[in-house]
Amino acid sequence: MDRVASRAARKHHPLNAHFDLTYRCNERCVHCYLDHEDHGELTTAEILRVLEELAAAGILTLTFSGGEIFLRPDFFEILAAARRLHFDISLKTNALLISAEHAARLRESGVRSIQISVYSDEPAVHDAITKIPGSHERTLAAVPLLVAQGLKVKLACPLMPQNLLAYRGVMALAEKLGASYSFDPTITPMMDGSGGPLIHRVSTAALLPVLQDPVLSACYPRPAAQTDAAMPSGKPVPSLTSAVSSGFEFAAYEDIPCSAGHNSVYISPYGDVLPCVQLPVPAGNLRRQRFRDIWYHAESLEQLRAVRDSQLPVCGSCEIRSYCERCPGLALMEGGDVLGAYERACELAEQKARLAGVAHPLSALHAPGATARQAVGPCKTNFLVTTDNSFYRKGHDA
């Protein structure tokens, strides 16, 4: 997929869409960044029209997320429409409402993967995070139903102080259930910018045991080849990638921060179009505009597309850049500058470089004489370790 994603990003061809169908939810997770009130969700007819516009524009991979998608009574109608339009469909859900009948319908709908939030192998820990007693049992009961249908299931586990060391248990649980897994210490501010969920963020120092765990290190891809002197002999280091991505590998994106606005787009339940759920830069609204017009003409997207990693004012000269998973959205939300550096990313990059054998790693933000404005507050950087094989390519020539 790298070649296709890379080509799409280079030509700004829309390829991936993350579509939140609702922000309503039947859990109240302590770290959630959403306002769960319904402020006027798109109707069924509006969503079907949007899907047609996305398909016509060339979007291939479509992730339905929320909120909890199964709270929409029209969910299967939406799914059927997406199938008819030949999307590659993935879902994100807490699985509380998934029955055996639902699992069968999901398989018939050609859903490729289903990501389910699981916070621990211990019910009490999980339920304390979701604030719904019995949610652990109900969520896990859905997994065998989906696996039995041949559906690809991933247990996604955000890491917080209260469940930081649960990852080994979640790994074992996933393996037992026939699922893959991912861990992510990313905790973001609320979408309105308020920082309430950030009290659940794990400090960089507290993450050290996780970063050092050889079981996880074995999953890490090696950093991209580079020539700077800070590069050691090539020990595996963590790969920090976007939890809101389609799942395609980010090696496809040379010198651009990420796929947001290049080949990926986010759509809210109210029709708002953003480059990414983590990058709150409005590009337009699908109730008033057509998707093509927004994608190809929104000024905010054109500005974003002009950004190059190598030209970032601080990070462009960073010697440990290959260890960094800087997120433009978090740079904006937490540091106030989409082009800027921010503390958490720099700390994590230094930690990873140190673990990989770099002597005295120092990010550009922390380098003596750095003139850049210090980013304030913690940040959200994704730390995704997965058992997925993702895609591999087969060529057919006639």
Partner: protein, 98 residues
């Protein structure tokens, strides 16, 4: 008499034409397939009504390749796509026009 097979796209596969090529993703095995321009031409003609010979005829007319080469290439690609479960046989429709 040998029955003519008519193929249709497997309804569960995802696909898009991107820059003249076609990307196909099969959810059952998580594999991405890519077709070049001529492969994409054939993919577009697969509608459950056209036989391999009829598609090959269109290919030969469009790309000015010898008919026998067009037929061999078309049949090979259809077999390859069918082996990957990207195609399924279409229900026979008597008299259906391609």
């Amino acid at each position: 008499m040998r029955k003519t097979i008519r193929w249709q796209k497997n309804p569960i596969v995802a696909w898009r034409a991107i820059d003249g090529e076609t990307v196909i993703i099969s959810p059952s095995d998580n594999v991405m397939h890519e077709l070049n321009e001529t492969g994409s031409f054939i993919w577009r003609q697969i509608d459950g009504r056209c036989s391999a010979a009829e598609i090959a005829g269109m290919l030969a007319a469009e790309y000015e390749v010898p008919p026998e080469d067009a037929l061999a290439d078309t049949e090979a690609l259809l077999q390859q796509l069918a082996a990957s479960a990207l195609l399924v046989t279409a229900a026979a429709a008597d008299g259906a026009a391609c």
